[in-house]
Symmetry: C2
Subunit: 190 residues, 2 copies
DNA sequence: GCGCAAAATGTGAGTCACTAACATTATCGC
DNA sequence: GCGATAATGTTAGTGACTCACATTTTGCGC
């Protein structure tokens, strides 16, 4: 069930790590738009082509949006008699509250770059696609209409992303706090 | 104050109209991603270069997001004692309710293309930038904190866009109705 | 260690969005 | 008609991304 941390990482794992490492580094030092895929590849010791074998597009080095089963579970755990919008909001709240602390530095690095790059703000939104689909499915499974579910998921995720951006910009706050405050803004009725 | 509809449109106006006309036409017939800027330009009788003198990017032929002063006014007209999220939601509701009927066919055409093109869903979001800024400014001017204002504006606009997509997909509903229903989903508390 | 299938990577050529410097043509007021 | 200026064209380039095909590496059974 656990990952074997002793074995030497495979070549695939090593190049992936190298690409991410040098990519984030270059983005931070010269900006996302000023960094070329060829540069990242060269820094990682591979070809431009290889980069695209690991990421479908440049922006995916930064934004991955892995499907998170815990999120679905958290949404499902909300009381059924709540309107879908609130089920989504509270589910996201619970899921992020449970996020292990050690993961936040990596997230911060990524979000900070995305927040400071106009061309990425839209990409960030587009990349919530997996999460959005998962939330919609769960809401529908719990009895919401598809239309209602889509609006609720989109709106709540937009608040989440906005909260992430704010958190990345201001140094002092905790990730969990920022998310909570963002969700407080949109959960006005209760 | 009104536009002189009798005078022959200037060359600039004519090429602009031709680009939009043939662009939308090609997008509808072969899909956005399958349509090349060169194709649009050729259909409109100009060069690729000319296209980019009219639009900063391909997607701008579809999504323009002009700043709408009526929207700001509608947000400003909401009672100050309401939380920012509700002021934004109700402001948008009022502004779109007042939208003149004749404009909707053009919007529908555009939104339908955007809704059916994954690569444009993010672009649509990015292009609400002007509107978002305007709403944030108005909310802040009315006493909201900048953080709160940004989250509220982002979340409400996401609901609006989601509503637009739903409207574009289903034939029978009115634009105004679709927007109202979308906003109903997120205005749960009152 | 050895060999070999599969995985990982490289090469080269091409498409498309978009940019910039400079030359050319069309338009419109006079 | 004439001239300033707006509109357009030309050429050349960059960078993200794709594809077909060739080559190297890796890891595993023996």
């Amino acid at each position: 069930m656990t990952i074997d941390t002793n074995r030497r990482p495979s070549k695939r794992e090593r190049t992936l790590a190298a690409l991410v490492e040098h990519g984030l580094d270059l983005f931070e030092r010269q900006g996302y738009d000023q960094t070329t895929v060829a540069q990242i590849a060269r820094a990682a010791g591979v070809t431009e082509m290889t980069f695209f074998r690991y990421f479908p597009a440049k922006e995916h080095l930064l934004l991955d949006d892995p499907y998170d089963p815990q999120l679905t579970a958290a949404v499902a755990a909300q009381p059924r008699d709540l309107p879908p919008f609130l089920r989504a909001a509270r589910g996201i709240r619970a899921a992020w509250r449970a996020l292990p602390e050690p993961e936040t530095p990596s997230i911060r690095r990524r979000v900070r770059i995305a927040a400071g790059t106009p061309s990425l703000r839209g990409a960030m939104w587009r990349n919530t696609g997996n999460t959005e689909r998962a939330i919609v499915e769960q809401l529908v499974a719990d009895g919401a209409s598809p239309d209602e579910a889509r609006v609720a998921a989109a709106s709540v995720l937009a608040a989440l992303v906005a909260g992430l951006f704010l958190w990345a910009e201001q140094e002092r706050t905790t990730l969990a706090d920022a998310i909570e405050r963002a969700l407080d803004v949109i959960e006005v009725g209760a």
